[in-house]
């Protein structure tokens, strides 16, 4: 089966080819799809941060939305106050979120599953109201996060959304490249060992707490980056953009992707973006009453979720692998 052994070089080539394909795609699809593409790229980063945390280090977060918020605000503050270029704003988002992630991770390392879920949930409920306590965070309406117009050399007809997509897609590709290398490294193996055989891992001299805190910190950094990309696509950052439902959506996306493999992350991301729109269309075609059109999208999304968890719990990629190995 494994005749073609993937090396670092071939994988890098794969990423570059994927990038070229996305570049080609961005020039052929219409503006709405380009905008949605940027959102997909945001989800790719955010969901992979959950995969790193849950699938590899075995920790559960129901409050990742809060970490995205920290990244979004960090990026906007740096951009607005120092007129920093976009990539510096993104790096600031990563560092700030990673810092808070490390603090949170230090607490989290002591907690088991549901207690950690409760803590992160309380964080996601509590954090947004902070924005109203400090004036520099802009209150309910939030801050502007304007990355500026696309450079002039791209031409007059080059749209703002295409520019968002290019930035988001490139960011996601770089993040994925880094993450898959990390997960293949000794760190990745350590995390897996800690998750599946924690006692054995401890006996083998692995510092479990430190390994978990590191995973939380890196996951938070990725989440912060996703938050910056999210804020870019809506050109603003406000507490309302990071509701509890975002945290839940990310956990959902991780399950749809398959929580133990990075390979399926695009599936979960596309599903999160596409399903509400598809459900909307179907609801309007089928639905006669207002009750039906209003509630059908929610029904379809929830139904799909339940079916996925019940029948494809480990995600489509793992499912395929299992089938092939049989």
């Amino acid at each position: 089966m494994h005749k073609l052994k993937a090396t670092n070089a071939t994988r890098l080539l794969g990423f570059i080819l994927l990038g070229l394909f996305l570049f080609y795609l961005s020039n052929t699809v219409d503006e709405l799809r380009v905008y949605q593409g940027a959102t997909v790229a945001m989800y790719v980063i955010a969901i992979s941060s959950i995969i790193l945390l849950t699938g590899y280090s075995g920790q559960v977060s129901l409050g990742h939305g809060a970490l995205l918020a920290i990244g979004g605000y960090g990026a906007a503050l740096v951009r607005n106050n120092f007129n920093a270029p976009i990539w510096i704003a993104f790096i600031a988002a990563i560092l700030l979120a990673a810092f808070w992630g490390a603090l949170l991770g230090a607490t989290a390392a002591r907690l088991s599953g549901p207690y950690l879920a409760g803590t992160t949930l309380a964080l996601a409920v509590g954090l947004p109201s902070i924005a109203n306590q400090f004036k520099f965070l802009g209150g309910e309406q939030g801050l502007i996060f304007d990355i500026g117009l696309p450079p002039a050399w791209l031409g007059q007809t080059f749209s703002q959304y295409k520019w968002f997509f290019w930035i988001a897609a490139l960011t996601a590709l770089i993040a994925m490249w880094w993450l898959q290398n990390l997960l293949r490294s000794g760190y990745g193996r350590t995390w897996r060992a800690v998750r599946t055989q924690s006692v054995a891992a401890e006996l083998a001299g692995i510092n479990i707490a430190r390994s978990k805190i590191l995973a939380f910190t890196l996951s938070a950094g990725l989440a912060g980056l996703a938050g910056a990309v999210l804020s870019m696509t809506i050109s603003t950052v406000s507490p309302g953009a990071f509701p509890l439902s975002l945290s839940f959506a990310l956990a959902t996306g991780a399950v749809l992707s398959g929580v133990t493999t990075l390979g399926g992350v695009i599936i979960g991301s596309v599903t999160l973006v596409a399903i509400p729109e598809i459900a909307d269309v179907v609801a309007h075609q089928v639905g006669a009453s207002e009750n039906a059109t209003t509630n059908l999208p929610g029904l379809m999304v929830s139904g799909l979720l339940i079916v996925a968890v019940l029948f494809v719990p480990n995600g489509p990629v793992e499912q395929l692998k299992k089938k092939r190995s049989k």
Partner: protein, 430 residues
């Protein structure tokens, strides 16, 4: 049967008229997005589900009902208005996504009635409404910023700002309760902070200010603590400047604790229908003061309210008639007037300049002057203050609407003698 046929006849002749007009016009001129010879497509994104949706999710239905009424009577310049509704759950990210679907996929002519400051701001920025010249009509937020033509050139306000409201309340307190101890319950976000600025300008000093976090009114026990705080400070007059669920919670707990100061209810939370449905007995509210810029939903003597009630019965399945229905129909009414004024050759630019040029004199239900001009996109510019009666309905004092007008800046609050233009026959565009 006859009526139906007549409607058909009217629409048929409208089609013919519009068709001949198109033929007469110079050929090959591309029509504006969302406009055809027989139709105009508008779009709204608003919370239809989610925690912010109760009440507001009635607005699109009310708009649709009025549009249907107009369509059934021949439409505007021969065009029928359709409204595409999207659910953004009050989440800015979703609001942008839905606005993009409306603009890029449904290809609407204009947005109308987007709700929430954060969502509206995000839509305006990210979807680049100004660069693309897409009108955003009558946004449902009291944030004064959207009336700023420089910052949001294609957005038009309708609601008076929270700051205006606070200034009007301040003036009322000065005139009637000088020297009394004043208390305030307010939402601790932009909504409340804008109001605090207005109260400050009006020179009001509070004996006690009770802030609450948005959403926390739903947490068991929270509203109870507001009342114990007020009881301890014992102000003579208490202003309730919160959303309707918070106002209902405050009044409900006050009733439970037999606490009865003089109440003044802000316009956002003071919807009589919502309060009547809560557990506050209407008699408890009797004598409280309330504000509005539109006529009270209970005022069936008002020609607009009467017409809206009829439209609501016929085209909206007679859902409970409240402030939200009035708000939705008012926006729809104003939109129809604007589209009519923009003429048969409808363009986005034309629509916006029609509002700038003429909307301050358009027929409309608001009891305060509209501030639209070439330099300003301010909608209603003030409030009338009335009293809740023993049935829980807000009634103008002495049967006459006393209207105060002001601005969102440092301008004074003045008593207005504005006379609203008469409603066109049957409430249809004339």
């Amino acid at each position: 049967m006859i009526r139906k046929n007549r409607r058909k006849l009217i629409s048929a002749s409208a089609v013919i008229a519009a068709g001949s007009m198109l033929l007469a016009a110079t050929p090959a001129q591309a029509a504006e997005q969302g406009v055809s010879a027989t139709s105009i497509k508008l779009g709204i994104t608003i919370p239809m589900t989610g925690i912010a949706s109760p009440g507001y999710n009635k607005i699109p239905g009310a708009m649709k009902a009025y549009f249907d009424y107009v369509n059934a009577n021949g439409g505007v310049n021969g065009r029928k208005i359709t409204l595409v509704v999207k659910d953004d759950q009050y989440i800015p990210t979703l609001a942008v996504a839905k606005a993009n679907e409306l603009i890029l996929k449904d290809k609407v002519f204009a947005l109308i009635g987007t709700l929430g400051t954060a969502s509206t701001k995000a839509i305006s920025r990210s979807a680049q409404l100004s660069a693309r010249g897409i009108p955003s009509l009558f946004v449902n937020t009291g944030f004064s910023g959207f009336a700023d033509k420089k910052a949001y050139p294609t957005s038009f306000s309708i609601l008076p700002s929270y700051q205006m409201e606070a200034k009007v309340i301040g003036k009322y307190l000065d005139d009637n309760y000088a020297g009394k101890k004043i208390g305030l319950i307010y939402q601790d976000d932009d909504f409340g902070v804008d109001a605090l600025n207005g109260f400050k300008q009006a020179g009001i000093n509070f004996a006690i200010k009770v802030p609450y976090a948005a959403g926390s009114q739903g947490v068991a026990g929270v509203a109870g603590t507001w009342i114990t705080k007020l009881q301890a400070a014992a102000p003579d007059v208490v202003i309730l400047f919160g959303v309707s669920s918070a106002t209902a919670a405050a009044l409900g707990n006050a009733y439970a604790y037999k606490y009865a100061p003089k109440w003044i209810l802000g316009s956002v939370g003071g919807d009589a229908t919502t309060l009547a449905a809560s557990k506050v007995p209407p008699a408890f509210l009797a004598g409280a003061k309330g504000l509005s810029f539109a006529p009270a939903p209970s005022d069936s003597a008002d020609e607009y309210i009467k017409m809206f009630m009829d439209v609501n019965t016929t085209y909206n399945k007679g859902v409970a008639f409240d402030n939200n229905i009035v708000a939705g129909m008012t926006s729809a009414f104003l939109a129809v007037q604007a589209i009519k004024a923009a003429g048969p050759n409808l363009t986005r630019k034309g629509l916006m300049s029609a509002i700038e040029k003429g909307a301050s004199t358009f027929a409309n239900p608001a009891l305060t002057p509209l501030g639209y001009s070439a330099t300003s996109h301010v909608g209603a510019t003030g409030y009338w203050i009335g009293t809740y009666d023993a049935t829980g309905a807000l009634k103008p004092d002495g049967g006459k609407y006393t209207v105060y007008t002001t601005d969102s800046g440092t301008g004074p609050v003045v008593l207005s003698n504005y006379k609203r233009p008469a409603m066109p026959a049957k409430g249809l565009p004339n």
